[in-house]
């Protein structure tokens, strides 16, 4: 009798999760599945869908613009994530120090770019990157030259990475600070009594104990940066000559400018596969270290 009452109560759980389950399935899971279906058609969004099987994928693997965009996005992701992790970890170490007064104030200042509206601040960076803009004025104080931030195919991607790092570094810094504060103070104290140097403590205590945070930051960062859209969209529209055309921008242009819905769905499937590959690699690394 008691168990039937408990069961009845527990069934109420279905009602609580139902709205979330419906919306998530309908708005995210269903479109994910639908991307696979749409990728098998040629479709301009207005006329009839024409079944073409795997032809989109065959074309995709021959399309240099796509392959370039994909490779560029991987390069962008790993370089940004690498810089972001090193910088945000260093900032966290710098600002979590007990010797620093007003560290809450400094943490709040470092976090400011995270709070700003990315497309709005991208407009500002675009102006600062201009030939006669303020960044070149600063550069010319030290060197007798100016940098073609957005005009050079070789440099433009790095300019975008600079903005990416500036926008996100405070976010990951706060994640690292939260992780640092979880490490018991006594560990450091007893190591100091044993005469361990700062560097030794960093590698023997801080980094090993911070491993869950490091992995989490890495995962969050890669997912986020890989899908970056507003920065290249506002600052360079993918130019000059596709030098900053990241994958999301490539998908957006193909679907909504050139109306190649089937083709861009195939790219979307590629996007999922890349994400899947990332997570498999990450799980592997995680398990490897666990042993």
């Amino acid at each position: 009798m008691v168990s039937s009452r408990v069961k009845k109560i527990n069934n109420a759980g279905y009602w609580f999760i139902l709205p979330a389950l419906i919306l998530f399935s309908f708005l995210l899971i269903l479109p994910m599945i639908n991307a696979f279906r749409l990728s098998l058609f040629k479709w301009d969004l207005l006329g009839a869908k024409i079944w073409i099987g795997l032809k989109n994928f065959r074309n995709l693997l021959r399309d240099e613009d796509f392959l370039d965009s994909w490779g560029r996005t991987l390069y962008y992701t790993f370089l940004s994530a690498g810089i972001l992790i090193v910088l945000s970890f260093s900032f966290a170490l710098m600002l979590d120090s007990r010797k620093l007064k007003a560290r809450n104030l400094f943490q709040s200042i470092y976090f400011v770019p995270v709070v700003l509206v990315t497309p709005a601040i991208a407009v500002v960076w675009k102006l600062m990157f201009q030939t006669t803009g303020v960044l070149n004025a600063i550069v010319s104080l030290f060197f007798k030259t100016s940098i073609p931030w957005l005009d050079s195919e070789r440099i433009a991607l790095y300019s975008i990475i600079l903005v990416q790092v500036w926008v996100s570094v405070g976010y990951y810094m706060v994640m690292f600070i939260a992780g640092l504060q979880n490490i018991p103070e006594e560990l450091h104290e007893s190591a100091m009594i044993d005469g361990a140097s700062w560097l030794r403590r960093l590698f023997a205590i801080t980094i090993p104990l911070l491993r869950p945070t490091i992995i989490l930051v890495l995962v969050t960062c890669i997912i986020f940066v890989f899908g970056q859209f507003p920065i290249p969209y506002v600052i360079s529209q993918g130019g000059p000559n596709y030098a900053t055309e990241l994958l999301t921008l490539f998908i957006y242009k193909n679907a909504f400018k050139y109306l190649k819905v089937g083709y861009s769905s195939a790219v979307t499937v590629f996007y999922f596969l890349t994400m899947l590959l990332f997570s498999i690699i990450q799980i592997r690394i995680f398990q490897e270290r666990e042993r």
């Binding site: 639908n34 709070v115 700003l116 509206v117 601040i121 006669t132 706060v174 989490l216 507003p230 957006y252």
Partner: protein, 279 residues
């Protein structure tokens, strides 16, 4: 010897402060430049030599931004989308988080895994199939079409579930003995206890909705339903772009979050820190 160690410590300390302050200035610089730029005249913004402070102050850029064209409308649209999407998000996340943590039922872990798996797929990745879906059900160019996808966050469900785990079951059991229904218990016992977590989630999700560019850009084709990020990204003048006006728009778009941040910076940072210690 002792005094030598002391001098060394002082030097390290001063260097520490200098580096922290210098990096802080670099981080704040684009923001400061944006605010000052919005008070410059067009000719001074990209002029050589560069002028940090406006040589003459232009106080009309903000008036121009709001008076010329639909910027006020964009602002209103953004507010409508924000309120609706965040409200919906909180309702979904609190109920689901409560359901996943306080009841044992068949398929619970499976359903939770399904929702959590969408963490790997941000909205950026599904714009094409999502647009096709919205077109089919007639939600292109509607508020609802903008709001629904922006109201979801798997992280929010996760956060509320973690939070409700910490609420003792005895409290709920006591209410049950008093004869309260399940939903009433959630509302009268669960919700009031979750206030801190809900505020963190509101602030966390508001940023996401207020800043999002790609989805409103895709789902809206005219100018009527554009949100602030879209309006700013697509802004240009007829013959030339009036930069001070565009910067005034950028400042106006950032101001609500900045003011909120000044008062509630702890909540902003806590929401992020929570994202950092999940699991």
């Amino acid at each position: 010897m002792a005094s030598h160690g002391k001098t060394k410590e002082i030097i390290t300390r001063v260097a520490h402060y200098l580096v922290v302050i210098l990096i802080g200035l670099v981080i704040l610089f684009p923001f400061i430049w944006m605010v000052l730029g919005s008070f410059k005249f067009n000719k001074d913004i990209l002029d050589i030599p560069v002028k940090l402070l406006p040589p003459e102050w232009n106080f009309s850029s903000y008036r121009n931004a709001f008076a010329s064209g639909p910027f006020g409308r964009y602002y209103l649209n953004s507010v409508v989308v924000l309120v609706a999407a965040v409200g919906l998000n909180i309702s979904i996340c609190t109920t689901a988080g409560y359901g996943f943590s306080k009841y044992r039922f068949k398929g619970r872990d499976l359903f939770f895994t399904i929702i959590l798996s969408t963490l790997m797929v941000p909205i950026h990745a599904v714009i094409v199939p999502l647009f096709v879906l919205m077109k089919r059900i007639g939600l292109v160019n509607t508020y609802l079409g903008i709001i629904l996808p922006l109201s979801l966050s798997a992280f929010g469900v996760f956060l509320m579930r973690q939070f409700f785990y910490a609420v003792p079951n005895e409290l709920l059991e006591a209410a049950r003995i008093d004869g309260a229904g399940e939903f009433r218990i959630f509302r009268m016992v669960g919700m009031p206890l979750s206030r801190v977590a809900v505020v963190s989630l509101i602030i966390f999700h508001s940023q996401y909705v207020w800043k999002n560019l790609i989805w409103p850009l895709v789902i809206v084709s005219g100018t009527d339903l554009r949100t602030l990020p879209v309006g700013i990204a697509l802004f240009s003048g007829v013959f030339f772009t009036p930069y001070p006006d565009q910067l005034a728009m950028s400042v106006s778009a950032c101001i609500p979050l900045v003011i909120l941040y000044l008062f509630f910076s702890k909540y902003f940072i806590r929401g992020t820190a929570l994202a950092g210690i999940k699991g």
